[in-house]
C-alpha cells in the first residue's frame, strides 16, 4: 500500500516534469518562430533617390556586422505581396489606379537582441531616405519575458514536487528498513559493509523510479497525443509540438529522474538508520 502511494506521488512529480518539458518545447517553438520572422521594415519616402539607395544605403546597411540580409521591396513588390497574402484585395487594387503602398527595406538581423541597435544606427546614418522603421520587437520582448517567468515558476513547482518525491521514497524505504531491522542488525554483527546492507534498498528505490517513470511517460504520451493535438486545431503552433516531440526523448529523461530520486531517497533512509549504529 505504501509502495503504491509512493509510486503515485513520484509519478505525479514526473508527469509535471514531462509537461514542463512539453511546455518548454512549445514556448521555444513560439520564440523561435518570432525570431525567424523578426525583421526591420524601413518604409521609404515616395520619390526616394534609387541610385543613393542602391549604391550607398543598402551596401552600408549590409555591412553592419549584425545584419543578415537586406531586401528592397518596391511599391509594386509590396502590392503583389499584399495580393498574395489577402486575395480579397485583388478587386480593390483593380479599382484604384495609384498604388498607396510605400517601398521598403526589409532587414533581417543575425540575433534578435540587436534589433534595437541596428534600428537606431539606421535612423542616425540613413534617416534622410527612411520614413519609418518598425519591427515586432516589443511583442517579441514581452513574450520572451512571459515565457521566462513561466519557466522560472514552473521550475520552482517542479523542484518542490521532486523534493517531495524524494522524501516520500525515503519514508517508504525507511519503513522497509525498519521492518528488516533484525536482519540488518545481524548483517552488521557478522561483518557486512554498509554498502552490502544498502544495495537492496537502493535497488528498491531504482525500481520505484523506473515504474513511476514508465507510468509518467504513458501519461505524458496521452496528454501529448490527446490534449495537444486537440488544442493544435485552435493554436497552429502546437501542431508542430504535438507531432514533433520525440516521446522517447522525454521517456528516458523521466525514467532517469525517477531513478535518481529513488537512489537519493534510498541513500537518505538507509544512511539515517545505519548511522544510529556503528
Amino acid at each position: 500500500m505504501l509502495i503504491l502511494c509512493a509510486i503515485i506521488i513520484i509519478t505525479t512529480a514526473l508527469i509535471s516534469l514531462g509537461l514542463f518539458i512539453l511546455a518548454d518545447r512549445a514556448a521555444s517553438a513560439v520564440i523561435s518562430g518570432f525570431e525567424n520572422n523578426l525583421e526591420i521594415v524601413a518604409f521609404l519616402e515616395d520619390g526616394f533617390n534609387a541610385s543613393t539607395l542602391k549604391n550607398v544605403i543598402i551596401p552600408n546597411i549590409s555591412n553592419y556586422p549584425e545584419v543578415a540580409s537586406v531586401r528592397l521591396v518596391t511599391k509594386e513588390d509590396a502590392r503583389e505581396e499584399l495580393k498574395k497574402e489577402v486575395p480579397e484585395l485583388r478587386d480593390v487594387f483593380s479599382i484604384i489606379e495609384e498604388n498607396p503602398l510605400p517601398s521598403s527595406l526589409r532587414i533581417k538581423v543575425k540575433t534578435p537582441d540587436t534589433l534595437a541597435a541596428v534600428t537606431d544606427r539606421m535612423k542616425k546614418e540613413n534617416g534622410l531616405a527612411i520614413e519609418e522603421i518598425t519591427y515586432g520587437g516589443e511583442n517579441a520582448n514581452s513574450f520572451l519575458k512571459a515565457s521566462q517567468k513561466f519557466r522560472e515558476s514552473s521550475l520552482f513547482v517542479l523542484i518542490i514536487f521532486i523534493i517531495a518525491s524524494v522524501v516520500v521514497i525515503a519514508a517508504t524505504i525507511r519503513l522497509t528498513v525498519y521492518s528488516r531491522f533484525n536482519e540488518i542488525e545481524i548483517m552488521r554483527l557478522v561483518g557486512a559493509t554498509d554498502w552490502y546492507i544498502k544495495w537492496p534498498y537502493i535497488l528498491e528505490g531504482i525500481f520505484l523510479g523506473v515504474v513511476s517513470g514508465a507510468l509518467a511517460t504513458l501519461a505524458v504520451l496521452f496528454i501529448k497525443n490527446g490534449v495537444f493535438l486537440e488544442l493544435s486545431k485552435s493554436f497552429i503552433f502546437l501542431k508542430n509540438i504535438a507531432e514533433g516531440v520525440n516521446i522517447f526523448d522525454i521517456c528516458w529523461k523521466l525514467i532517469l529522474v525517477g531513478i535518481l530520486q529513488g537512489i537519493i531517497g534510498a541513500m537518505f533512509s538507509t544512511a539515517s538508520v545505519l548511522s544510529e549504529k556503528k
Partner: protein, 231 residues
C-alpha cells in the same frame, strides 16, 4: 591478544557502564566474565567487536587500537570476532543452513565454499541432520548451537558469548559449554559472559568479575564469587 587500557564508558544519559578497566586476554585463552546484572559485562563485550566505543581509554585487538577504527574498517574486524547472543538473533524466515551461511554470504564467499563450511560447522555442533529446519522448529539449546555455528563458521580468532546458556536447562547448558570448549581447544580465544555458577565453578578457568563497571577480581582459576576483593 585483547587488551583494555584504562577503559571507561559513560553513556549519553550519564550512566557509567565501565569505569577505568584495564585487562589483558592472551591469544587462545578462555575467560569467564561474571558479575551482577548491570555490572557492564555486555558493554565490555560489545567493545571487543566495536559495537560500543570507549569514552576514554583504548581497546587493542592483536596490537591494533580498535577504538580508533574508521566506520568502514569495522566490518573487517567483526569478520574476525564471532558473537553469540542469549537471544540467538536468528532469521526466522530462513532455515538453519541459510542462517549459518548468512555470515559467509555477507562476506562474499562462493556458494560451494559456503556449503562446505556450513556443513562442516553444523557437524561440529551436532546439527547436520537439522539443517533444513527453521528456527521455530528447534529447541532453545539447538537454536543456541545454530548461533554458535554461525559465529564460528568463518574461523574467527575470537569468540564472544553473552550469556549463551541464559535460557537453557543445566543439561543443555553443559552441551553448549562443551561445544565452546572444543572451539577454544582449536585455538580460538573465548570470552564467556555468564550468570551460570555451576559452569564457572566446575570449569575452573580464568574469571573476571565486574561490579558497577569496575573490574573487581581477576583470578586465573576462579570460581563464581562476587565477594568484594577489589584489585
Amino acid at each position: 591478544m585483547i587488551e583494555f587500557s584504562d577503559v571507561s564508558k559513560i553513556y549519553s544519559n550519564g550512566v557509567v557502564a565501565i569505569s577505568d578497566v584495564s585487562l589483558r586476554i592472551e591469544k587462545g585463552e578462555f575467560v569467564f566474565l561474571i558479575g551482577p546484572s548491570g555490572a557492564g559485562k555486555t558493554t565490555l563485550l560489545k567493545m571487543v567487536f566495536c559495537d560500543e566505543t570507549p569514552t576514554t581509554g583504548n581497546v587493542f585487538v592483536d596490537g591494533r587500537n580498535i577504538s580508533k577504527l574508521r566506520r568502514s574498517e569495522i566490518p573487517y574486524l567483526r569478520r574476525n570476532v564471532g558473537v553469540v547472543f542469549q537471544d540467538f538473533k536468528l532469521l526466522d524466515d530462513r532455515d538453519i543452513f541459510e542462517n549459518v551461511g548468512f555470515a559467509l554470504k555477507v562476506m562474499g564467499f562462493a556458494p560451494q565454499l559456503i556449503a562446505n563450511q556450513v556443513n562442516h560447522v553444523l557437524e561440529q555442533v551436532g546439527l547436520s541432520t537439522k539443517k533444513r529446519m527453521f528456527p521455530s522448529q528447534l529447541s532453545g539449546g539447538e537454536k543456541q548451537r545454530v548461533c554458535i555455528a554461525r559465529a564460528i563458521v568463518n574461523n574467527p580468532a575470537i569468540l564472544v558469548t553473552d550469556e549463551p546458556t541464559g535460557n537453557l536447562d543445566p543439561y543443555i547448558s553443559w552441551e553448549i559449554m562443551k561445544t565452546i570448549i572444543d572451539i577454544n581447544n582449536k585455538g580460538t580465544t573465548v570470552i564467556f559472559a555468564t550468570h551460570n555458577k555451576d559452569l564457572v565453578d566446575r570449569m575452573r578457568k580464568r574469571v573476571l568479575v565486574l561490579r558497577d563497571g569496575r573490574l573487581t577480581k581477576d583470578e586465573p582459576r576462579g570460581t563464581f564469587d562476587f565477594e568484594e576483593n577489589v584489585l
